[in-house]
């Protein structure tokens, strides 16, 4: 039985946002992360979802058995942990009414439906504000609530392309390879979290809520400071340059002993160069006049890359990292996902923790690592099962009678 699952591992009173309540229509990735962060910080986050249209993140290949199962997506478990789940089929007007009643008891509403959907459902900001005048509402979209790109079908790589981010991502002289990460989702979600928290700060001072419009495209564009300033000040548009920094040589990922092992090394100053030379045990070539100063080394980047690679290729990346850091040189291995999970530094700090999930048992989730000394971010419970908290929220918070809930479930309003 879902409601028998122990789902309050850590009392929320320890959180910075203890006492705040969030109604979370967010789904997939960008929409789910803000609620996750607020829950990790102690807010009560009620995820509104429905079997009528499953959160995409609940879909995918099952891990146990071979039947589709909405409780088995590890990505979903990561970005929805700590939330409560209420299943409201908001294509039904009665479900929309229940959502509105919940809004009256919330501080924050989050959503990332396509622009215009909340208005069509009767859950737009003006409506919600009439219900709860100081509500803070955040909408997250790919390309904004207005404008000519608003209805563009856009996924994470679309944002990388449109923002300029991808235009410099590749080998020197080659085309843009593109960044296949959800950079824009995470960037948009984090800006949303900041804006939501700041809006709550002002609300506490003035009593005023507000509507926040975060576009992943805009959030990504503002992280392109160097490229955009280059264009503004020199008229040039940067192109792919491989692993390159205008102030550092060497700067790159260098091959190591072993299969597909690499180490990143970056040298910014004369002292760091001397540290690198000492770590290499003072090879004769390092004395060459071509490499005597940072300025000269900039002009002989390729030769230095080849010579440093010749040295790194003989060694293990972890051994080299300690050796180089011991000489004051910035170095770190290129870590794979498994290596990050079991990395001694990350393990000691608790970056990943195992958490029990009813469908999959113990599985690791990442910690937010917003380490506030008195109220640190904490993974408070596993991601909710579909509708796990229907009774707690709809009967407990809203005060529906048990038989009312049963009847709403029967008619698939709560579904």
């Amino acid at each position: 039985m879902p409601d028998e699952v122990q789902n309050d591992l850590i009392p929320s009173s320890y959180g910075a946002l203890s006492g705040y309540r969030v109604l979370d229509f967010g789904w997939v990735l960008a929409g789910a992360i803000p609620g996750m962060a607020l829950a990790d910080m102690g807010a009560e986050v009620i995820k509104v979802e429905t079997r009528q249209r499953l959160d995409y993140m609940r879909m995918g290949r099952p891990i146990v058995g071979d039947q589709p199962d909405p409780e088995q997506n590890p990505m979903f478990h990561n970005v929805n942990r700590g939330k409560l789940s209420v299943t409201l089929n908001i294509s039904e007007p009665e479900a929309v009414e229940l959502a509105k009643r919940l809004v009256a008891r919330c501080d924050v509403v989050i959503e990332n439906f396509s622009p215009g959907v909340m208005d069509r459902l009767g859950l737009g900001y003006e409506t919600l504000r009439a219900i709860k005048p100081d509500i803070v509402m955040a909408s997250i979209s790919s390309t904004g609530q207005d404008g000519p790109l608003r209805d563009l079908r856009a996924y994470a790589p679309s944002i990388g392309a449109l923002s300029g981010l991808d235009s410099t991502m590749g080998y020197e002289g080659g085309g843009p390879l593109g960044l296949k990460h959800a950079f824009g989702d995470i960037c948009g979600a984090l800006h949303a979290v900041f804006a939501i928290a700041s809006a709550l700060y002002r609300r506490n001072q003035t009593g005023e809520g507000c509507y926040i419009d975060v576009s992943m495209l805009r959030a990504t564009v503002v992280t392109q400071g160097i490229g955009l300033m280059e264009h503004a000040l020199t008229g040039r548009s940067l192109r792919p340059r491989g692993n390159y920094d205008p102030t550092m040589v060497p700067y790159g990922n260098y091959p190591c002993a072993g299969e597909d092992k690499w180490i990143s090394i970056a040298v910014a100053s004369q002292e760091e160069w001397q540290g690198l030379v000492a770590a290499m045990r003072n090879p004769a070539w390092a004395d060459d006049q071509r490499f005597r100063s940072q300025y000269r080394r900039q002009r002989h980047r390729r030769e230095i890359d080849a010579l440093v690679s010749g040295w790194t290729a003989q060694h293990d990346p972890d051994v080299l990292t300690d050796l180089l850091q011991g000489q004051g040189v910035a170095a770190a291995p290129v870590l794979s996902a498994e290596e990050r999970l079991f990395h001694p530094h990350f393990m000691e700090r608790g970056l990943y923790n195992d958490i029990d999930h009813p469908a999959l048992g113990a599985e690791p989730v990442f910690n937010l690592m917003w380490n506030l000394s008195k109220t640190p971010s904490t993974v408070r419970s596993h991601a909710p099962l579909m509708g796990q908290h229907n009774r707690q929220v709809l009967c407990g918070t809203l005060g529906l009678a048990e038989n009312e809930l049963a009847e709403l479930e029967e008619r698939q309003v709560v579904y």
Partner: protein, 401 residues
Amino acid sequence: MTYSLLSGLRVLEIGSMLSAPYCGKLLADAGASVVKLESPETGDPARRYGPWPDDNPHPERSGLFLYLNANKQGVTANLETPTGRGIMRRLAASSDVVVHNVRPADMDRCGLDYDLLAADNLDLVMASISPWGLSGPWRDYKAYDINLAAAGGICEGLGEAEREPLTFGTPEVGYFAGMAAASSIVMALLARETHGGQHIDIAEAETMAGLYNGPEALMAVYQWRVTRRTGHHALDFPYPNCILRCKDGHIFVGSPEGRQWGRLLQIMGSPEWSQEQRFRNRTAMNNLYADEVDGYVESWLADYTKAELLEIALEHRIPLAPVRTYDEVRADPSLADLFVVIERDDTGPVSYPGTPYGLSGDNSVPPSPAPTLGQHNPPILCDELGYSPEELVKLYQTGII
């Protein structure tokens, strides 16, 4: 643009390059009053990073510095001297927030000891941003952007299988650490009445290995998706999910939903190759035949410009997206109001990226330009901290400010 969300809030930023300065910028753009403290000799290293107007380098005109430090006031203090640390301590005592990215190994020497600063200001919220965090075996290890990207999971899957792993085209990690710090700071402020001040530890590497790439690590545990360097293709997605060449550049072509792919094929004239049995399963098509299919699709794309393809994307609801260069991002009329022009005597008007989120009912005001080195020493040290003009001169002559 500047909002009023955090008006009245006083922030002291001791930041260099990206992370703490971006945190300070988020707070300043949200309305906080941010004082940036720099070393009197060289200031923030971003002053020496560039780019510069017309390639004419000058520490007061570095584009990265001007962008990240607009809307702040600037003071100088040499934290290697007791008097300099005293100035910093007095500024911290009258601030709500201190944010810095001084390396953990240098924090005590620079007077950035939370307990010491909180002794004068019990409600102080201080955020320390560092490459690896304030604890753990790598606490004192150095890192630049590529090292954080390498350890944080950015590089492992970027690039060609036979070549070196790649990182971001320009430094990016600091932005994520800045966002994490700024969010944490405001949350600590929300909890201040109950809990008082707090010290916040944000590790740049963990913003990447955690929130950015944490789910990937979990997927690897289940062997659901294994990240490998496969050039412009990513394994285990339905084809297409890649950047391809078109008439005047490159375009991202995606179609996660079958009907999107169907529409795209229709527009391409339902080509014969698309009917082949081996292309029935689009994930197999991606993993086994991507290079071959790229050729077919590119022969169609070659007749269209990025702008024409964007029109097709909008009309037919297909996820095509031009890979825009920075001049093209700047030229997008729908982003025009994202940029803000700031004028300073020595740079003239320059257009900067502004605040990425919109806010109802808040009349945003244009930001002020980034401070020159020590520009606000007189108003802040004399008017606020009470140094006399004679003392100010002495502090300058002795290299403290």
